[in-house]
């Protein structure tokens, strides 16, 4: 991996760019977390929002700032740091491009936020037409996406520079992974950019009267599923390439890690129909085809599970652990940089199992748009991914600010992770259960005209409020830790851990960096999965919808 040539610290100038991203991300955590608390309280039926604030306005805030803002800012910041650490300091030009990206994303966030606060955009973060938000909301989200492209360009340029300087050598694993995720993000966001720029924006400005609802949704979900992999892959970067170093072990296999990332690039995009399984305008055979493709994207996660267990077991056995599970005891449970992301890994087991159920064609009718789905992505995004991001922050923030994670903060971080696990077990568990009984997602408290079925859901809604309140406490702790690490922790050197491979002799095949090949296959798969259904949709389209503002 050319470890000797790597620079061991992220340059301070790159560090400032990364920290700028993290400030926005953690402000988003504070705002979105508060919104989440309000939602679970309202839905318990015991609390009403003051000052005429609407439940759905709060829900829009929650989804936009956590699902889009927190994630995009944190991921881009982390990826820039990873590239700077493993492929060398960014050039001035690359860094300027990164700053342009940051400011575009920030401007977009402010535009969208103002429109949500003015109650001009209570359309949730999925903004399904024909509910029509203010044009500035769509424009703001466009800025966030375009800004992320600039950040992505900085990452790709830094990679190209490294690539040219090191012919015939596989790129550093973390850089390779950041590049894969960035390429996937760029290909995926073309879909949402298309519907926003060519459908929703002209329609909200009054330039056109009607919008093709199904086409817009399809373009959204072309983006929407790779979006969840865009969230997940940075967590996988940490699990594959950073956690082994933290525990003192080795990366199980560099090549297999790269293979799994390439599989994610290929199969996470042509699968959007599994979010549209119960929609009237799509042929079921095409739905099933995308279900099959969705099942293919499970395989790299199966590989990941094996690699992680193998990393842990190899480490434990190297320390003399015996028996089938003796190695579990050898893991550094007292180190928050490991134990908090580990809680995230564990949560990915039920999360993944639930995801397979969601994607299972006709079985989707059991759970579609019930609160089971909310429970599902609070295990994936809001536990597996976010606890890993927190785990990264514990060392990356002090690394960038020239401070140290103290023992006291480490302890607090573990408490935070455990609180999160407890809160989420209540909240997500209750959501899964209530969802199977039929309780809908994205709905304010309702007794549904005294229906006996709705009455059965109320105890679960109270459990969600209990879990959500515990989660809010964990968020406050996390914000405290972040502020400490950014501004108050003692000065010092905090290591940026980068894993080393177990078998140095085995070089990753260079074919993994044949981007023409992988992007080519990606495009072919997308065309295969989407061309005919899209032609069908456009040819058989109904008259289109006028805009509605029903909030």
């Amino acid at each position: 991996m050319g470890i000797a040539t790597e620079k061991l610290n992220v340059d301070r100038r790159d560090g400032r760019l990364v920290m700028a991203h993290f400030y926005v991300a953690f402000i988003a955590l504070a705002v979105g977390g508060l919104a989440g608390l309000l939602q679970v309280l309202v839905r318990s039926g015991k609390f009403e929002l003051p000052l005429g604030i609407g439940y759905y306005q709060v829900l829009t805030v929650h989804g936009v700032v956590l699902g889009l803002v927190l994630t995009t800012f944190f991921i881009m910041g982390f990826q820039i740091a990873a590239v700077s650490r493993t492929s060398g300091t960014l050039t001035n030009k690359q860094r300027v491009i990164g700053w342009i990206g940051f400011w575009l994303m920030t401007a977009g966030t402010i535009m969208a936020a103002v429109m949500i606060l003015l109650n001009e955009a209570t359309v949730l973060y999925t903004f399904y037409a024909p509910l029509q938000a203010h044009a500035i909301y769509y424009l703001g989200l466009t800025f966030v996406v375009v800004g992320s492209w600039f950040d992505g360009a900085a990452i790709i340029l830094a990679y190209s520079k490294w690539r040219k300087a090191h012919p015939g050598t596989p790129s550093p694993l973390l850089t390779f992974m950041a590049v894969v995720n960035t390429l996937m993000w760029i290909v995926a966001t073309i879909g949402v950019a298309t519907t926003v720029l060519f459908q929703l924006l002209p329609w909200s400005l009054g330039l056109v009267d009607r919008v093709d609802v199904l086409l817009s949704r399809t373009l959204f979900w072309y983006f929407g599923h790779p979006l969840v992999y865009f969230w997940l892959l940075p967590a996988y970067m940490c699990w594959y390439a950073i956690i082994p170093k933290i525990i003192g072990g080795k990366i199980f296999s560099d090549s297999l890690a790269r293979l799994s990332f390439i599989l994610f690039l290929l199969f996470s995009i042509p699968v959007g129909f599994h979010h549209q399984l119960t929609e009237p305008g799509i042929d079921p055979a095409w739905k099933f085809l995308q279900v099959v493709l969705t099942f293919l994207v499970i395989i790299p996660s199966l590989m990941t599970a094996f690699s992680l267990f193998a990393t842990f077991e190899s480490f434990g056995r190297s320390r003399g652990a015996r028996g089938l599970f003796g190695w579990v005891r050898e893991l550094p449970w007292g180190d928050a940089r490991f134990s908090v992301p580990f809680i995230g890994m564990l949560s990915f087991i039920p999360a993944g199992a639930g995801g397979i159920i969601n994607a299972s064609h006709q079985m989707n009718q059991v759970v579609h748009n019930t609160i089971w789905v909310t429970g599902h992505f609070h295990l994936t995004l809001a536990t597996a991914v976010i606890l890993t991001f927190f785990g990264i922050s514990y060392w990356l923030v002090p690394h960038l600010t020239g401070r140290k994670l103290t023992k006291a903060m480490n302890k607090l971080a573990i408490i935070q992770g455990v609180l999160w696990a407890i809160g989420m077990t209540f909240m997500s568990g209750a959501m899964h259960a209530a969802g199977l009984l039929g309780a809908p997602r994205r709905s304010s408290f309702s007794e549904y005209g005294g229906a006996p079925q709705a009455a059965e859901w109320i105890p679960y809604q109270i459990a969600q409020a209990v879990g959500g309140s515990i989660l809010f406490l964990a968020i406050i702790l996390m914000l405290y830790i972040f502020i400490n690490l950014a501004f108050f922790a003692p000065k010092g050197e905090q290591d940026f851990p980068v894993g080393e491979v177990a078998d140095e002799a085995e070089k990753a095949p260079m074919v993994f960096e044949n981007w023409k090949l992988w992007l080519g296959i990606t495009v072919v798969l997308i065309l295969f999965a989407y061309t005919i259904p899209l032609i069908d949709m456009i040819e058989n389209a109904p008259i289109g919808s006028k805009g509605y503002k029903l909030w």
Partner: protein, 158 residues
């Protein structure tokens, strides 16, 4: 590229399980007809009230079809028509629904009747109401301020 023997075993096991899942789903969908709702028919959403079958919402007995009844629902912000309906136990029913305005999520709680209603499209699902009881119909796709107030009711009676 080297792969550990145990990883091969795991991948064969895992991929095998996924293939079994897909086969079960595929046979159920394509041979037994348990497809997710995908009607593929369109309608002018602004004229729903005047067009059959939506000009007469409710339960209708039909002859000479694979199902005994058609149950017609019209959704609009924030109500379903009809607001309450009785279905005889054991009846094979085609539920047909559409929306007059935005997207709604037509869900009969505790059943597999769960389909998106999108402006301009008709949604259908055929099923046999084989369990008596009162079933809540709700909207499971955000449609505006009154989204959680949208309800209707199906009573499956002997």
């Amino acid at each position: 590229m080297h792969m550990h023997k145990f990883e091969k075993i795991w991948l064969i096991f895992g991929v095998g399980a996924l293939l079994v899942f897909l086969s079960v789903l595929g046979v159920s969908a394509f041979y037994l007809g348990n497809q997710p709702p995908s009607c593929l028919a369109t309608i002018d959403q602004e004229k729903v009230d005047t067009l059959p079958p939506f000009n007469e919402p409710g339960l209708k007995k039909v002859e000479g079809k694979d199902w005994d009844y058609e149950l017609i629902f019209v959704a609009a912000a924030f109500a379903y028509t009809p607001g309450e309906v009785e279905v005889p136990l054991g009846a094979k029913v085609k539920v047909i629904a559409t929306t007059k305005d935005v997207i709604h999520g037509f869900q009969v709680a505790g059943t597999n009747i769960n389909m998106m209603l999108e402006p301009g499209y008709i949604s259908e699902y055929v099923t046999t109401f084989d369990k008596a009881g009162e079933y809540l119909i709700l909207c499971n796709e955000y449609c505006g301020m009154g989204h959680h107030m949208m309800t209707s009711k199906i009573e499956v009676v002997e």
